[in-house]
Amino acid sequence: MAGKTLARDRSLWMTYWLRLRSNRASVVSLVGLILLVGLAAFGPLIYTKSAITPDYKAINAQPLAAHWFGTDNLGRDTLARLLLGLRVSLIVAFYVEGLNILLGATLGLLAGYFGGILDVLVTRLADMLFAFPGLLLAILVAASFGAAVTDRFGGIGRLLLVAGSLSLVSWPLMARLVRSQVLVLREQEFVVASRSLGASDAWIIVRHILPNVAGLIAVSSTLDVAGVVVNESVLSLLGLGIQPPDPSIGKMIVDSMPFLEANPLQVFLPSAALMLIVLTVSFLGDGLRDVFDPRSLP
């Protein structure tokens, strides 16, 4: 096959892209995710109904021309709220993964590469945070600082606090994964060879270590998004996340639950949106794992 001989001329990233494209589940989930991000970014600009102003003539309404997805118990437009809630979920996920990569991956990489006192400090700190099961630490931090942060910095501050507290739960895992991978890479022949040729630590990290952990970081942060989106919803429904009247998917589900019998769509539409994010991200993460698996290199 002609394509096979050309494979070695392709860049590594091109190979990755072709491999991702050949997996149908990954392509479908990638397209789905792009659509979701597009909806969150541009949806509220196109569907301009207010997510906050109630329509007193349509309380708990079924879908109709004026309100495509109906309204909630206060007469607020569900589609408009859903689009903004989607935006909140995705922004929080984006911030959390940003923090995880900036903090967790960087610390894990440096700790694994340099070892010594830095390694001890990073692993001990990660172990300390690991002592808290599940969301407990995020709940504690969001509860303790939430009110003051909202008073001083408003909605954006609250969003960042939610992201920060969720990241407290997930960066230690990222640091641990990257560190253990770097510990292996550090002793590999190509790194030793590079060092014996006089390469500096910075060169080795950027040219040899980073490209080899980039896949791991991409895969684990993509897979982590599913958990972060769910956790953001949990914080919001406990009253710790985005504050009313601003919408959040978790809060929408819980607020509509008392009216489940009269208007089930108000509960099931946000639930479906949440599951859609979780599923697309999980399938994409699984696809990326196969893409970056060195055992599947041609």
């Binding site: 303790s144 769910v230 949990v234 406990l238 589900i253 509960v267």
Partner: protein
Amino acid sequence: MGNVILRRFVSLPFVIFSITFITFWVGFLAPGDPILSMMGGRNDQATYERLRHLYGLDQTWNDQYFRYLGGLLRGDLGLSFRYQGRPVVEIVSGGIPVSVSLGAVALVLSLSIGVPVGIWAALWQNTTAERLSMAAMLMLYSIPSFVLIPIFRWVNYQFYARGWPSLPVAGWGQPEHWIMPVLVLAAASVGYIARLTRVSMLEVLKQDYLRTAYAKGLGQNRILWVHAFRNAVLPIITVVGPSVAFLVTGAFVVENIFAIPGIGFLSVQAIQQRDYPVIQSTTVILAAAVVLMNLITDLLYSLLDPRIRVEG
């Protein structure tokens, strides 16, 4: 065996220290003056000083931390901010038996469904029924509880609307109040346990000693339950620790939606009332519960698996 247990007990103080230290600092750094908000509009310096002293807030941070630790050791969790002068222990102690019994029932239920399903799936590997059931288990594992609850409630409502027997939507005290919360809590761990059991059982089924057992003509049942199951069940014990961590997060959501007066419900109430000492205490209690469960499973594991005892 001594070594493994010893190592466990050496790391235990570190974990306990981490939990109490971080919890203390979060509370210490939490902005706002609790005494001031407690006094409301009154402006009385003498009362202010007296309250500050009563709550120990006039001490330096390390005195406060050691006072807090000492209190924890004596089972004294400090005083509530919201209910002035009322000990936190009084507030949270009512919730502990509720949460523990709910979690224990859910755990037993998820083990007694998850383990048989996992074994069945391993024995019927690569059949359509097995693939479908494992997909269902993956669904159970990945659906968050607050999405599962409305589905349950909606099905329940359809029963109610047709005059069929149905369950109460929320509340606590009657046996029927248990059914929905326990099912929701168990759902995620069932999926997790079933998938893990299947993998562990498949691993054992490949082993040479099973082929030997077949070769020497032992019966199918004896091979399955004596040779395979006993070895497959070992890794399943380790699942119990993570499952309890699931249950802790699940308890927050489930107890609040079903209005069950457990630890998760009390924590959220305290969050709404900005009662930080109560939030701190419930965090420490829940984290300690998970640590304890992990310790017990590890001990059980090293007790049951002779290889670990020797190597440890």
